[in-house]
């Protein structure tokens, strides 16, 4: 069994471990050492469900390699740091906590996220932030460093998505190409650095004026993003003071007038 060091840190080598074995080991460590602060996973290669359903505030899981799908699904509390890319649906139906991805996130990053934050330094795939929803103090946040594929924030029902549109060095990537942005959106808002055309929006999405109020809203998340990825103050200030396009629902009930009651 891996030994817990005095600083409450454990290193686990995931090499050649099947996902159940790896996750079982993580649970075993947590059960046997309730005070453990950090679990470092080395040589992760496609193992799914890491951090799945773990309820533990303050716990840090640091991953070296590429974790498989559904990273941190149903997770409530921990912080997962990935030094690499992730497969599809990191942060799926996540409740609370933080996922920091130094590479890119796969398709449906932040699927049905209910709370917590996801920071992705690179790109995210198709339909990211789909069906994110908020309720009272539960407020999901997804911040993407580079860009997002089509259908960003589809069926979004709450929370915030920010796309910063910068490359690895912090240079502008140019106009974002994503289509069908916010299709079916009925809650929450999407902020994309730079200009978006109406033709890039999906049904039910609308471009709203980006106000100073909005800037205030997203500033803390940009600051947190820069801190997590060690970006310079200069870049941080540039990101905070840039122009964003705000995309929000036309109404809370996009499909309210779809039906004829079959009453006679």
């Amino acid at each position: 069994m891996e030994k817990v060091k005095e600083n409450m840190e454990v290193i686990l080598d995931a090499k050649d471990l099947e996902y159940r074995e790896l996750n079982e080991k993580i649970h075993k460590i947590l059960n046997e050492n309730p005070n453990v602060k950090k679990i470092i996973l080395k040589n992760v290669l496609g193992q799914r469900f890491i951090g799945n359903g773990i309820q533990k505030k303050g716990l840090i899981i640091e991953i070296y390699g590429v974790p498989g799908g559904d990273l941190g699904m149903f997770m409530n509390g921990p912080t997962i740091i990935v030094h690499g890319n992730t497969d599809h649906a990191p942060g799926n139906t996540m409740d609370d906590g933080k996922i920091i991805i130094h590479g890119s996130g796969g398709d449906v990053t932040g699927h049905s996220m209910r709370g917590g934050k996801i920071f992705v330094r690179g790109n995210v795939g198709y339909r990211s932030g789909i069906h994110m929803k908020e309720y009272k103090d539960k407020f999901p946040v997804l911040v993407v460093g580079r860009t997002a594929k089509d259908f960003l924030g589809e069926y979004m029902a709450g929370g915030i998505i920010v796309v910063l549109n910068i490359d690895n060095k912090g240079n502008d990537l140019g106009k974002i190409k994503g289509k069908m942005i916010g299709t079916g959106i009925h809650g929450g808002s999407i902020y994309i650095r730079g200009k978006i055309d109406e033709s890039q929006l999906g049904v039910a999405a609308d471009i709203k004026e980006f106000t100073e109020e909005d800037r205030k809203r997203i500033t803390p998340y940009i600051e947190e993003f820069c801190k997590e990825f060690g970006l310079s103050d200069e870049l941080k200030n540039k990101l905070i003071n840039s122009e964003y396009t705000k995309i929000a629902p036309i109404s809370k009930r996009p499909f309210g007038k779809l039906y004829t009651p079959d009453l006679r």
Binding site: N23, R48, S112, R127, H131, E134, Y155, G187, Y259
Partner: protein
């Protein structure tokens, strides 16, 4: 102007000789059919859906409801309904919304299947005096059992003992093969949910939450509740997953295969918003697919993800609508670590579905059970996974026939609602249910007495359970396990060769 009103379907009459002007009907009708004017009760028949709340509550039996005998020129193709739908849709330009199950006249195969009974040989059994086993375990069964043989010393003697080596997956233990289907809190009232939860606990069976989350008031019954994960992921958190006895992934619903759900904002009250975990008044939209499931492999991933989140302690079901290739899909599910496959036939009920789906999409549950059972047998996996059938099961004979066709257990939905007072008026989506079942309006919800409704539902399950025991006894079988997939005990009446082949049964007389 083109007059676009459709004539009232019913005609409501209050007999003035019997009526004592107590105005009970005015209070009871949530649809606004009645109004008192001077010494008369005035009726607005066009608002009536024949839910019979007024008739049931009138102390003088003064109310009668007739089909409105208004004449439409007869035509075999252009039926009254066809014409009415066109009038309504051409007025609004919208999708026709409807409630309850398929209302078209497709064959009901249950009614064309007859059961066997013993005569002389293999004598029948009297379940009133002899044990009759209805206990059913739903969940994964091992391929084979392995034992460790150990020698132990007991009282100075060395005795060889067999110890089970195979790890048995968690199963649900049902005292009767009848469960209550997933109908969400939001579509149904909290009182209806409480009543059903109490009833299933009393009967040693289970109910589904639907996709609306689990209200705190149901926590005491959580060990008899199956929670559901649908594409909207409403109310899903760690708590919700670990509270229930099992988790069901809803892929499709028999009443509306291929489309998602849509709880209108007006039904998302403060309480509903709490269990769904979305803001009050906002639409609760479930996308048509799960966007993390685009293939059987993805489905397996969600199954395993849920297993991981619950540390492999909770059975996972997958519910699909009965569609043309249901057998192949069920086989895919069987390979995914899922514990049970739920098949919902095209007569399954719903709170709200586009009429065009309700009446036209999907296949009969009888055919689907037979196809899935056969396919899983052919693949050699039938004994590992359970089959739960639902969609239009009306009585104990339907349950019995479903099991003989190959199901392990059934879900009932509409039948349980009728036990609580529902009259199948099919207007669940309006939120006006006068019986307090499919509504969130507090004054209507309060009409449903939880204790009494729970008693009714429990009575229904108990009555059917008794009848199933009697039917089993008559067939000379003393355990429901021996009935499962025992199609030799079924015969078709008036079915053609293709139908008989699809059902895997012989015709009567053969």
């Amino acid at each position: 102007m083109i007059p676009s009103t459709v004539p009232p379907k019913y005609r409501v009459e209050v007999n003035p000789d019997r009526c004592m002007l107590c105005e009970r009907c005015v209070k009871e009708c949530s649809w606004g059919v009645y109004r008192r004017e001077g010494n008369k009760i005035i009726t607005y028949s066009n608002r009536c859906g024949a839910c019979q709340r007024c008739v049931s509550m009138c102390p003088r039996d003064a109310i009668t409801i007739h089909e409105n005998p208004i004449c439409w020129r007869e035509h075999p193709l252009w039926t009254k309904e066809a014409r009415e739908d066109i009038i309504n849709q051409s007025r609004t330009g919208c999708i026709l919304l409807s409630g309850m199950g398929n209302a078209k006249e497709y064959p009901i195969y249950y009614d064309k299947i007859v059961l066997d009974a013993c005569q002389v040989t293999n004598p029948s059994i009297d379940p009133l005096r002899e044990p009759m086993e209805l206990r059913t375990y739903i969940g994964k069964k091992p391929k084979k059992l392995e034992f460790d043989f150990v020698e132990e010393e007991i009282d100075g003697k060395r005795i060889k003992k067999a110890k089970l080596k195979t790890k048995i997956a968690p199963n649900l233990k049902l005292e009767t093969p009848i469960m209550i289907a997933h109908m969400s809190y939001g579509a149904l009232s909290l009182n209806a949910h409480k009543a059903m939860a109490k009833a299933v606990k009393e009967c040693g069976t289970f109910m589904g939450t639907g996709e609306g989350g689990l209200h705190k008031a149901l926590y005491p019954y959580a060990d008899h509740i199956i929670t559901q994960i649908a594409s909207g992921r409403f109310g899903v958190n760690e708590d919700y997953l670990s509270k229930g006895a099992a988790i069901e992934i809803k892929i499709g619903q028999g009443a509306k295969p291929g489309i998602g759900g849509h709880l209108p904002g007006e039904k998302v009250s403060a309480e509903v918003s709490m269990t769904r975990m979305i803001p009050e008044g906002s639409d609760a939209i479930s996308p048509a697919p799960h966007h993390d499931i685009y293939s059987i492999e993805d489905l397996a991933q969600l199954v395993r993800s849920l297993k991981e989140a619950t540390r492999w302690k909770v059975p996972i079901f997958v519910k699909i609508a009965a569609v043309h290739n249901v057998a192949a899909i069920a086989n895919g599910i069987a390979t995914s670590d899922a514990d049970a496959v739920v098949i919902d036939g095209f007569k399954g009920g719903t709170g709200a579905a586009p009429k065009v789906f309700r009446d036209n999409v999907g296949i009969p549950i009888e055919m689907a059970i037979a196809a899935v059972d056969k396919r899983l047998r052919d693949e050699g996996v039938r004994n590992e996974i359970s089959i739960i059938a639902s969609g239009g099961i009306r009585n104990s004979a339907d349950v019995f026939k479903s099991i003989a066709l190959g199901a392990d257990a059934v879900y009932i939905g509409t039948a349980a609602m009728i036990a609580m007072g529902c009259r199948v008026c099919g207007r669940c989506y309006t939120g006006q249910c006068a019986w307090g079942i499919a509504t969130q309006k507090p004054e209507l919800v309060n009409r449903l007495d939880v204790e009494e409704a729970s008693k009714r539902v429990a009575n229904l399950i108990k009555a059917w359970t008794l009848e199933i025991k009697e039917l089993l006894g008559a067939a000379g079988i003393n355990s429901i396990e021996s009935l499962r997939g025992n199609r030799d005990r079924l015969r078709g009446v008036g079915l053609n060769e293709v139908e008989l082949k699809a059902l895997g049964i012989k015709h009567a007389g053969l």
